[in-house]
Symmetry: D2
Subunit: 206 residues, 4 copies
Amino acid sequence: MDDESAIYAAQGFGNALGIGAAPGLVIVDFVNGFADPAHFGGGNIPDAIAATVPLLELARSNSWPVAMTRMVFADDGSDGNIFSAKVPSLRGLTETSHIGQIVPELAAEAGELIVRKRHPSAFFGTDLTQWLTARRVDTLIVAGCTTSGCIRASVIDAMCHGFRPVVVSNCVGDRALGPHEANLFDMGQKCADLMEFAAVADHFKG
Amino acid sequence: MDDESAIYAAQGFGNALGIGAAPGLVIVDFVNGFADPAHFGGGNIPDAIAATVPLLELARSNSWPVAMTRMVFADDGSDGNIFSAKVPSLRGLTETSHIGQIVPELAAEAGELIVRKRHPSAFFGTDLTQWLTARRVDTLIVAGCTTSGCIRASVIDAMCHGFRPVVVSNCVGDRALGPHEANLFDMGQKCADLMEFAAVADHFKG
Amino acid sequence: MDDESAIYAAQGFGNALGIGAAPGLVIVDFVNGFADPAHFGGGNIPDAIAATVPLLELARSNSWPVAMTRMVFADDGSDGNIFSAKVPSLRGLTETSHIGQIVPELAAEAGELIVRKRHPSAFFGTDLTQWLTARRVDTLIVAGCTTSGCIRASVIDAMCHGFRPVVVSNCVGDRALGPHEANLFDMGQKCADLMEFAAVADHFKG
Amino acid sequence: MDDESAIYAAQGFGNALGIGAAPGLVIVDFVNGFADPAHFGGGNIPDAIAATVPLLELARSNSWPVAMTRMVFADDGSDGNIFSAKVPSLRGLTETSHIGQIVPELAAEAGELIVRKRHPSAFFGTDLTQWLTARRVDTLIVAGCTTSGCIRASVIDAMCHGFRPVVVSNCVGDRALGPHEANLFDMGQKCADLMEFAAVADHFKG
């Protein structure tokens, strides 16, 4: 995307936001169904889950606010929406279904916020914004899946809600690599900083 | 993207939403600065503007609610946000700047809503949602630019707010064609129907 | 409040909105804990619950979309917010607590939306808006408690989101009658029509 | 309201929130039309405007973020909503109308945010939330009018968005004193701390 990057640079896109004083971590939709290619998974999602384990440790050791999202639809279909009309298979992600549970290696600890959502964005129709605001978070470190779906939507919303988003590029994954790369490009140009986990860890060392 | 389409189809994405009983039209950011490659324009944006002229006529002749968006930042910089930190050149889009005015061929008529926004999405921090809801719109026909930026953000939000989005694929444009195509793919899989203007016009004939 | 009504009338407040073509019903926080003066109840809340039974029947017999709200906080306190800091006793309203369950006489049927909220308004941090929008509701019939708390907040938000609110005045209740009356006055002047259940039932007869 | 206060106290309402580390100030709708009993004014609004002058000085001398709201409807009526259907006289508050301008003694300085709104709440359909979030405000000091209208709506929303609201009780006013008092009571019980200006000034001394 060299030509495209040149166009964006000439028009003033892609400025670095930097990491602020008060980070928070959100892990988006790392649930069993997205770890499994037979449901919504595949591609580099398993690698991204593995890479998020030390990121979650970093967050906990630094006492950042930590939130984790799940897609959760009602058993009786009462909360069906346009998203579940567009992707009907999502309706299987219910409160108790196996595919809807957070993967065991990233299970939440007491005090970490579980966000149940029915939209791509972690913020839409949820309490995440005000939870982060009340904790005075200024920078949102983002991991999860999929890069082209719920990550993209959550990162745009994070920016709009007043948080500087940092997409940890090896901690986000997608079922197909073309959309993964295309969406990293868009986010890096327009709404987020992109950093590898190692660079994030370095930043908080010492 | 044939391989990717196969993965998405197998997992249940890309279901058609269809056009409902009550369409509305939103035209996103077709302002002078996005028609001009020296500012934020280029690529296929001029073609998309030209193709939107008959779409706007269709909307008016059918008495659909019509909304048009502009990016408008305050002259004194008081409303700067994370988006304008990421893309500082956007701050030149002010109430009276030439680059911030809607292109003449798509100028609003009395009664059409002008939405001033400071975020990618036409819905974020604006009254657009409730304006459409109060008019009982169920389907949002979308034109404008850029496909990978404000169109993508607006279309996701349209879906989340309960409207069926239809992206008129030759009435949206972008400064660079790679992101244009990648974002059409994402939207078609996850949040919108994609239709050429001719197909939209056919639908409303007779 | 005769003098006050005269001031409001002179300044143009209190215009009737009327009932539109597509009503929906929301029942706010009629849960065991608000039916019980030992928790959050008292006043005319029991009467309002009793009066809401035939209102719910009217809604079901006319196939209106029906939503019911509950306050639900997490067992581990992870989702504490400013509201629960102001009123700490609310934290006892959890997913499985007796006081947090909808009263038996108004239990939801399959397909009716249960809205879990952590704020006064039925709309804040929930999916209610888009659920009503997707169903093209234009008028929101409101019952529940408390008039001065979650009803007031929900009714203002209903108006802002583009729905015409009708407060069914004998189907809303409060623990104390002064705030009940004061808030009926405010809502009638600024954001809702006030109607007794009998008048609502009459409207939909024939 | 002694009896009522006892009921609320027994049920756990009215806990003090306290002032946090990072205050911001919002002044709601102190425009010419609300200073004038011939339009939307009267009661104790003039006193509240006068009392807000030193509050604004305090904010500026402490470099708090300052936001001021105006109701602004479009000249062509295109943005009419349910609120302006309920109170049609509000439509006269336009961008350039005399009654829509902020009163001269509280005119904004460069860098202070002017929030144009078409709803009671300063937050609804505006950028105020993310503007405060991006500046890491944790406590919102509130002045303006009317206590029973736009103050009440703004204060509930401030709480929901994650800010601790402080209503400066002599810097808010209403056209009629009954609703003024009733709404101060509700806000003090459920969503805000109430403080006189002198107490706020004392808090920030030294």
